[in-house]
Symmetry: C2
Subunit: 173 residues, 2 copies
Amino acid sequence: MNATRGWTPPQAFWAYLEAARQRINERAPDADAFASELNMMLNRASDTIVRDFESAALRDYDLSWSQYRVLHCLWLAGPLEQREVVEVTGMSRALVSSTVKLLTRKQLVTSTCAAHDGRVRQLSLTEVGEETIGRAYRAQNAREVWWVDTLTPAERGILLILLRKLTRGKADS
Amino acid sequence: MNATRGWTPPQAFWAYLEAARQRINERAPDADAFASELNMMLNRASDTIVRDFESAALRDYDLSWSQYRVLHCLWLAGPLEQREVVEVTGMSRALVSSTVKLLTRKQLVTSTCAAHDGRVRQLSLTEVGEETIGRAYRAQNAREVWWVDTLTPAERGILLILLRKLTRGKADS
DNA sequence: GGTTTATAGTCAAGTTTTTGACTAATGATC
DNA sequence: GATCATTAGTCAAAAACTTGACTATAAACC
């Protein structure tokens, strides 16, 4: 169905998208078909890319997507409190908790009680953890570059701005 | 931390994104930090929105995201073969299989053997299924509209084009 | 200083999703 | 028309993730 590398959504997907727009207008004329299409496209893009990351880059390092996310933010933002990892990654408290437990067992992360507050846990990378995420990131980045290279630099910039605006616009009013 | 409706990524996330760009340049100067940022943003947007859909719209109809996707495509593209559902939704064969089993148990979908090929299963919505997805879609669409409304119509158009280009560009060469 | 409230994290149970091995029907080849 | 390869689907085990209830510490208030 598809090559080991190169990937494209099946023809059927594009045809479906096309058809959907029209069918929505018939079956739910009051709805905003365009908004639906945008969302389908957004989810599809994100899903596809993450799945590719997992199989093409992260698999070799035995990291799941959440494990990668946690390591990645510890790598880039230095030692962090666990609650900060929750905020930064957008993962749920419980998921971070269990992911950290796993990473600790794997000796990639250490978790100690914070001095200033008995509730919070301070997380850091071990040396092996540092090593691992460093190499995994490079593999991952190669994939990221591969994905993005069909867009011109200008287009990439615009895409980033629009995605930012999409999520940031939702002020809590 | 956040209101029941309105939502915004925590301050920490934006700060992190900012910091990440610089730190990547220090720690992996050969990497493309911009590609990483784009991907983080894409995943974050998609995740957040899907999570909102699940909790704000689909919960009331007792539908998981995959159940919704299957019903949705049957609704819009008429009766489909199971393998077509796989292509159209981008879900794995196994996941479609088990989701269909569930939807069948819930009496929302019927699955029969196709006449022309003993391997394939023909899926259709039951009357209740049709009813359910119709109502669920309206709830979902209201959310979709809410999300998208911070973008101008022109911006929405551009975003769609860029997302298309991002995934479609990956021809299997 | 005792009570209430909020925050950080954990845990167990359930659900969802992936993985890989399997069955069965079809198509291709000789 | 036997053999081999493909395709569609299923299944069971494992992994990933969510949910909601729970513990413990800290902060706020009186």
